[in-house]
Amino acid sequence: MNTESNAVPESPRDPQATESQVSLSAVIPESRRLCWSVRRELWENRSIYIAPLAVAGVTLFGFVIATFGRALAVSDLAQRRAVLEEPYTFAALLIMATTLVVAVIYCLDALHGERRDRSILFWKSLPVSDLTTVLSKASIPLVVLPLLTFGIIVAMQVIMVLLSSVVMLASGLSPAELWAQLSLFQMSMLLYHLVVVHGLYYAPIYAWLLLVSGWARRAPFLWAGLPLLAIGLVEKIAFNTSHFAAMLESRIAGGGEAVPFPMAGNAAMHHELTLLTLGRFLISPGMWIGLAVAAAFLTGSVRLRRYQGPI
């Protein structure tokens, strides 16, 4: 049996077949390896999509109660409208906060977990370069999570608008203004905010976390925070200034007023002014210095991945 099953794959292995296999081998492009590696990350870290989906589910549950319970209990129609319009921004912020937490936890574990459980030896036995691996891991907070957050927020808000439209129509109110929540402008502002701030502007933060997770032998969480604290303290004691802390703060705040958060009431924002501000933010030195720092940290992470083994 064994010898037979051995002979079968052997026989068609004429030189031509081997050649076609060889030429096939060159065909797997690095981009396909990257895609599979990103998929692999999603298999491993299902919290990437489960956490925001769960929060969206809970939010919707609360919203249903608010819509059909609290809103209907208010007899004044203007107040009823207010109750129905109130939770949109809050719900969106909640999802964003969730994905930010998910991103931080993910990054700190991304290059640490595979060394801790020794599976790095398996990954390194495959023809996937360290660069591809690190890029696939970095793409989760930089690309996948912002887009996922956008998708979930939009889906959630569509459901919310549909639900409140029912109540509004039943109350004889026009739901038209509510649909402004879903205007193209609002949506593109949200997408812009997520891609530019959560993706690009936060890039050095995520890259730093990845670097630490690739370097630390244990407690990457501490190693990620302590050096920053130390720099801030030294600066404070030595020069009695706090530029470093201020810089971190402005980075985490997402560039402050430069990128207006897509608030429910902000629909009246002047398009041109906003676009101008957005454009200026995109070419601001802060943005590009941040990206350069992120690139440096990622380069460091690739290098570390190459040298590090299991811990």
Partner: protein, 291 residues
Amino acid sequence: MTVIEARGLRKAFGATIALDSINLRVDEGRILGLIGPNGAGKTTALNAILGLTPYQGELNVLGRDPWAERDQLMRDVCFIADVAVLPRWMRVWQTLDYLAGVHPRFDRAKAEGFLAKTTINRASKVRELSKGMVAQLHLALVMAIDARLLVLDEPTLGLDILFRKQFYDSLLNDYFDGRRTIVVTTHQVEEVEHVLTDLMFIDRGRIVFNCSMEELESRYVELTVHPEQVAAARALKPMHERQMIGRSVMLFDRVDRQQLAGFGEVRTTSIADLFVAVIDNQVGQAQGVAR
């Protein structure tokens, strides 16, 4: 064709020298056993060959520099480094999907065929499998890759004897075809004894013994000496002598079997006994130098 060639391969961790300028050459179609005590440098040598660690000296694996080109090298090289390095969170079908996605020489149907012979459920997570099943899964994945060099570092550590036997049986029957090359390290020497074509002992970062199995069988003879013949046998300069149940057991290198048969019972040495003899002599030499 030469698969692995090392010249002056050296690796130090601080003051500890893990590899002390070793020279090594492995040809295509060989099954090499790399045997050595703990901390002898086996794993360091394999890590250098697999591009997992930087090194000094020259090293060429399938025409590539492993440290500089690990990812390209891994298209033609496979390794099982230790048992249980498969990610515990992964499901069996995910390992198949992922390998099919990234590995140009992975034959999915072949892997499925190997798995069908086991009781492994495709929906199971690796953490739900027994240790033996994880080893079976890893072996199925590796055997489905059309690689030219397979490196196994203690592939059966901690498995029960049935799995260990089965592991080497499948490797020989379903995988090895004379064009592939296998390098294996293990402490369970008896189990690989009949699998190997070449043998290499490594101790304190040096290769202290290197020969093919055919050579081993023709060169080395173990003699259990009759008590009255001990002095005569010693005159033939055994490379090693030990006592077993009150009798002397001597190991000879390149001494005529017929001649030895007169002094007692003659048999071909086992790898384990040869290993002990070689390592003991090393220790003796080292002490001699120290004095």
